[in-house]
Symmetry: C3
Subunit: 351 residues, 3 copies
């Protein structure tokens, strides 16, 4: 069960060229393609004639033409031509998905089409700004909720990323606060006057103890704005605006493929402050690829263990507060969507 009335990312803009691409999004087979004029579109990836995947077809002008017997569909999914027939059979159509290209990403609306509202696309303006230094996409064999959990509890940096961006000080001495505003859950973790982990020594140049922040902002269903940084110990919680900060912005967002797999997108920009040497940027970004891979590896391993015995109990610890709060918001929104559908069904039933 997934939240549906949201925009979900299907592809980086530059990966969608002139060939249609098949994705599974929220358990549904989807073909994403560019029309003749370059505008993106997305349809159910299953011809209504004999169920060949439309992703094996070809774009002809405005239409996508099935690669098996030539049935053509417009960008809404309406069948517009059947070879050798004067008329298209009534009802020949596949599902179309509202599709928008923004911030270097192709976004699909997976829910009720009337509710598609472009203003709800997450603000990811950093991702196509010149300052962005690294980005990527992974296909992860794990439920997207496990990635959300990972990003709500950043104490894991002390263990998963112990060789680079983390050390145990984060988990042992972090001061953590969780705030919810509407659907946004912000978890802030402050670690004051503690030693710097390797990456902060190397890329940040810290030789003494640091004041460090990790601020994770979660927007359902799966979008995260993460702000990380540090100053030499002293400014405390004023670090994020301190001119000598070492800081960077990470965005992570994901699209469920199935209950057991996820399309995971991420991008990162530096915000290193004014007085810093930028020659360390490239090795820093290389570290970020490794960090993402470390998360990928532990989350897939966690999913495999869950799959072995989905009912094995879990024990809550204090670090889970942000995770629990974000899960509560998700469950509330799922219930609201469910009530909305029930209500729409009742309304239809009265007519």
């Amino acid at each position: 069960m997934f939240l549906r009335d949201y925009w979900y990312a299907a592809a980086w803009s530059e990966d969608l060229k002139d060939q249609p691409i098949a994705y599974t999004l929220l358990n549904e087979p989807v073909v994403v393609y560019r029309r003749g004029d370059g505008r993106p579109a997305a349809l159910e990836d299953r011809c209504a004639h004999r169920r060949a995947p439309l992703s094996k077809g070809r774009v002809v002008g405005e239409n996508l033409v099935c690669g098996y017997h030539g049935v053509a569909y417009d960008c809404k999914g309406t069948g517009v031509h059947v070879p050798g027939q004067a008329q298209v059979p009534p009802g020949l159509r596949v599902r179309g998905y509202p599709t928008v290209e923004r911030h270097g990403c192709i976004w699909l609306w997976m829910g009720d089409q009337e509710k598609a509202d472009e203003s709800k696309i997450p603000d990811l303006h950093w991702a196509d700004s010149p300052g962005w230094g690294a980005k990527g996409r992974l296909h992860m064999r794990a439920h997207y909720q496990l990635l959300n959990d990972n990003l709500c509890d950043l104490s894991h940096l002390g263990y998963v990323h112990a060789s680079n961006v983390g050390n145990t000080a984060l988990a042992e001495h972090g001061q953590v606060e969780t705030q919810t505003e509407g659907n946004v859950v912000r978890t802030s973790r402050w670690t004051l006057d503690r030693p710097a982990p390797n990456t902060y020594v190397g890329a940040g140049g810290f030789k003494k103890n640091i004041d460090r922040w990790q601020i994770s902002e979660f927007l359902p269903p799966s979008f995260f704005l993460l702000n990380f940084g540090a100053t030499e110990a002293g400014p405390g919680r004023a670090g994020p605006t301190h001119p000598d900060r070492f800081a960077f912005q990470v965005c992570q967002w994901s699209t469920p493929e199935t209950e057991g797999s996820t399309h995971w997108f991420w991008a990162i920009a530096h915000d290193f402050g004014q007085n810093r040497d930028l020659s360390m940027a490239l090795p820093f970004y290389e570290t970020m690829y490794k960090v993402v891979q470390e998360d990928f590896s532990i989350i897939e391993a966690q999913q495999r263990t869950i799959d072995r015995d989905p009912n094995a109990p879990i024990t809550k610890i204090e670090a889970d507060n942000g995770v629990m709060e974000a899960r509560r918001v998700g469950v509330r929104l799922l219930n609201e969507e469910g009530r909305g559908r029930d209500s729409a069904a009742r309304k239809l039933a009265r007519h």
Copy 2:
């Protein structure tokens, strides 16, 4: 559910040498082998002793000897020796399949043994004639019915094979007729005075419009005789006997492995007419390997899409007429086989 009282191909003759080969045919494990004198035989591939596969055994004279504990079976599947025992335990037997080698192929009768009748082996005399130019075997992860469908509706050449033997004229301007005689369904498609596709330009040497025929003859459960060809526009439906025709004969037949996979055999011969340069035969046959691979690819993709949602609806179009007629014949024969079995069972029950 498969038609059983038919001959099914298991192997090309030249592929069955002195080692037994394991196949799954109609969901059953079968070992096919040559006896000491070279005659083929086929048994259930599961020793009646402790269920090791007999395909790991050895041929000793007339018998197949299990490779685990040495139990020996004759070519009917009767246990004839148990090592260290004077007598074979009663009931020690495995199923035997009537087996015939003909037309360069090993054929197995998969149904009631008393009904095995060699005269029902499809006439495939072309396949071991000198004129045959290319043949092959594929293992396809799709139900064999999807291959039947493919071969009953040759409009797909305009899309699946658009770069070689097909163009959209076939689908947009074909004149199609379907005739059923007994169990044979013949679908004829005529495309008159239309441009030639690439292969007909290259191998057939056509520079102007052509009159083209595609005649597909289906013999249940899965045997197809396909006659293809063209003349320069003019003779119309007299093309197949015109001396300046460019024509060829394709045979395709398949054996279900499981509900989701198929052994697919094909062979092709030219019938290029008397006045033609035969130097194009080899590149023409090379094209045929590509054509088969294109069908293979779209059919496997179609099966994957069907498997995702087996109940997704389909919409009939006019090109489906031959497909529907062949499916009707198949369903009728399945019902007849079922009634035959019920009747035999009732007869037994009365005794």
Copy 3:
């Protein structure tokens, strides 16, 4: 369903170094590791916090620390530290397995912890004696019972190992006796005054007929002591103590991974007698690797055939006597374990 109140091998000692290793044993995920002082320990491989596998963690002194959020466990599975928390939440624990290193192997007790008794570890003193010449471990996709069956009926040497240690004389002319003492089933097979198989000619140097013995001693659930050997024909059943014997000792033991897969351990030592040239020992041991591989191959093939139709009937032959007797003992012990658990449950229910 497996026998649980037994010691099962998880690893050869030399394979367990300073990194934890994940195994599945009797369907349970287990992490095996060495504590700081080198002593082995084993826990359920699933953190009680959020179910990451502990095998991705790190050993810190006496404890295993989860690699995701840093929860630490002692060697009994009791949670002893949660980062950033003064107190460990009550009930934070995973299952611990009594673990012993003996005879070069790491043994885990998979049943009720109170019943763990080191004296029940099979006597495998040969396995870490200098005389041992070869040993190995295989991961086999088959139920461990099929390996037990293989080792209870050594007539299979005449077919599975026909090119090396076996010939048909073993199966056709063996004199076989099966004796059960308590839970131990001993199957002896004598083949007197018959030709020697290849390995006995090559490594044993026999040029004439031999008197040969194969003595298989089965200790549930899955431990085998196998004594093999021969003399030149003459001494008959006095061969095992004859000074000119060619003989060797094989141990085989296995641990079920799942119902369909098995961890298989084996070791072999020579007992070639006093007057023999030992230069053939190395090629002889090389043959033994091949012999194990031949068993592996036929057993996996047998399992695949069983999986296709688990209810296909089997037919008993005389060579199965030892197999049947060992299976009877196994079933009796399973029933006894089941009654023990029921009785313990009733006792608990009365309180």
